[in-house]
Symmetry: C2
Amino acid sequence: MANVFLPKGMRDLLPQQMIHRQRVIGAIQQVFTRHGFEPLETPAMERIETLTGKYGDEGDKLIFKVLSRGEGGKEGLVDQALRYDLTVPLARVIAMNPQLSLPFKRSQIQPVWRADRPQKGRFREFYQCDVDVVGAPCGLADAECIAVVHDALLALGFTDFTIRLNHRAWLRALAVAVGAADREVELIVAIDKLDKAGREGVGRDLLARGFLPDQVQRLWALLDGASLPGAEQADAELDRVEALALGLGVSPARLRRDRSLARGLDYYTGPVFETVLTDGAVGSVSGGGRYDGLIGMFSGRDIPAVGVSLGLERLLVLMEERGMLAASTTSTQVWVTVFDEACEPAALQAVTAFRQAGVPAEISLTEGKLGKQLKAADKRGVRWVVIAGPDEVAAGQVKLRDLRDGQDLALPLADAVARVVAGG
Amino acid sequence: MANVFLPKGMRDLLPQQMIHRQRVIGAIQQVFTRHGFEPLETPAMERIETLTGKYGDEGDKLIFKVLSRGEGGKEGLVDQALRYDLTVPLARVIAMNPQLSLPFKRSQIQPVWRADRPQKGRFREFYQCDVDVVGAPCGLADAECIAVVHDALLALGFTDFTIRLNHRAWLRALAVAVGAADREVELIVAIDKLDKAGREGVGRDLLARGFLPDQVQRLWALLDGASLPGAEQADAELDRVEALALGLGVSPARLRRDRSLARGLDYYTGPVFETVLTDGAVGSVSGGGRYDGLIGMFSGRDIPAVGVSLGLERLLVLMEERGMLAASTTSTQVWVTVFDEACEPAALQAVTAFRQAGVPAEISLTEGKLGKQLKAADKRGVRWVVIAGPDEVAAGQVKLRDLRDGQDLALPLADAVARVVAGG
């Protein structure tokens, strides 16, 4: 290999991976469409002013900046940058397209770029997979976001998951109730770790941060308690969202109120939710919530919004680990061999007949012994091989070999096509 | 609207456009798969050295450069750039993945970025839609590229197209035969304009460039003639490619040898082809050819290759102009209204039943009078509206309204679903 490589954190998606990705993205897209979310794509590049200041100081450092090109000596100016997420672009689209009817339900599946330190399984280019409802108040819109995640995970074959549900106002009331209204963020960050660290670990952490033992005790009591002063509206909203989600077909066994769910700090204002697999092996596979202050930032209007993101890259890893992806490494079902030049017309006719019947079919592109061609077909993972040698051509037939059991059948081409279409 | 806009040459693809794009790309992808081309995606960013020097001086200027980010004070270094086409990345993939079996048939549908001067209908981000066969000599691989374009255009609904076919060696022999071996490029550039300028215009151009009247006359004679000294192998290769393409189902009426087809200058080495619509209104909608010198550039090996690109953006414009895109502006088929809070459970049940039957369905997200909800459904372009008011709920039915004719039907929910699934 010559001196070629990719920039740090970049990767190719080769056919074996792409075939799985296309199926998974296709299945998710189909559920999004079924739920009435309409597709949007935004350009890879935004103006730098559109992006900076939206993701915190740390986020700002991870934005990829692009040199502008163009006439008039403007080359070298850094005035555009690569998309960092799909939410800020959505806010910009809403501001630039006042003709869009609200509520606007949109789905968006596109790559984003972040100059994070690359790690195993973490790349600087990765797909986000978002649905959002813009312009609808708390209630059915939030339930729709929960239902679409529920149905998308089912469509992918997941059954053992729980959607955790909480409310940002509940967390705010909690901070007030333990006498730490001014330290809400710190408290939430600590609580967010309960899943992993347990009460002992989180309690130690809070004490180390200067919280009093009494505050920590009150915290546990409130988390266990039935109600919380100041959280009445939040509780009522969650009751309603939960009831609506169940009405939209979400399984009650898969929806759980969880008062320790914090789910980010910055922009959520209402219900928050995330999905975890019941075996608990990994973090969340989806997360979202209501963020009524964000979408209007470019419009100068107050626009309520709620959305959820599916962790596509993590889902793909999980599906591979669990053997949920089809074993096939190719979409091609039939490999037509070329016996010799005299038999070539029969091979052309055969591959064309399969394709016209909608069956993905290949024809050997390089001359070579039949054994070599069969080996190539097998290596590719194709199930069916077609052989049209002099005997078959003379008899007006083809030989159809099932590589799963090595059985041969001699039959007219049309019958071979029908057999493969019928799945054997 | 606040002060928000997009960088020059960038655009959003709103749902009405996306719905058409997804259908068109889906149809093309399906044909690519049927023909055994396997999907590949490469990252948006390549190392700058991978891209520079590959697209000529003019091309180099149009490459978008990205500032590197990262630890160790390396910020500000310009060492990566955005993908400019899909061919150079393919060459890099081949070099970096010696495990890939050749011949390798790959399809790739991804955006590329070029800092061209934006014009009406021309953007700095646009999709390319390529198939290539890497590692197969001239012959069947070239015919496969012609056949896949042929079948993709048919799948999109085009019937009035011609695939023009020529050979780079034929053009070289032509230059030799008119005594201009050292001015081959100039001659090809001039000939390439025959379609638009005619012989009169091209002849004038050649004379102005210092070609002799005798050379111009010889040129016309050779273009009209049956054979050309030195072009025997090119003719034989074209004969074979043409015969193979017909064997793969390409209509003879849609394939035309055209000795004036030049198709780019730089890297083609064998057959070249492009597709024009018969009404001649626009330029080509696809183009490609054999380029045996390019793919090996990073590998240090000689690797034959042939490929073709579909002009996705141009095809979309043409399909819109010709009314070939479905009139519907939404994928959503059913809009479920919410009569009042008491009837909400029936509405939730209805929208869920449609979705579970695979029918894209919406539910009104904001409260409001029924008339307003119906208006929203109509504006969205949905065909069916479901109303579940107190009377319907009491009767265990829903009202199904066909917005195409305004007819109402009262029937059980399951029957309404069955009716919509059956298409009315």
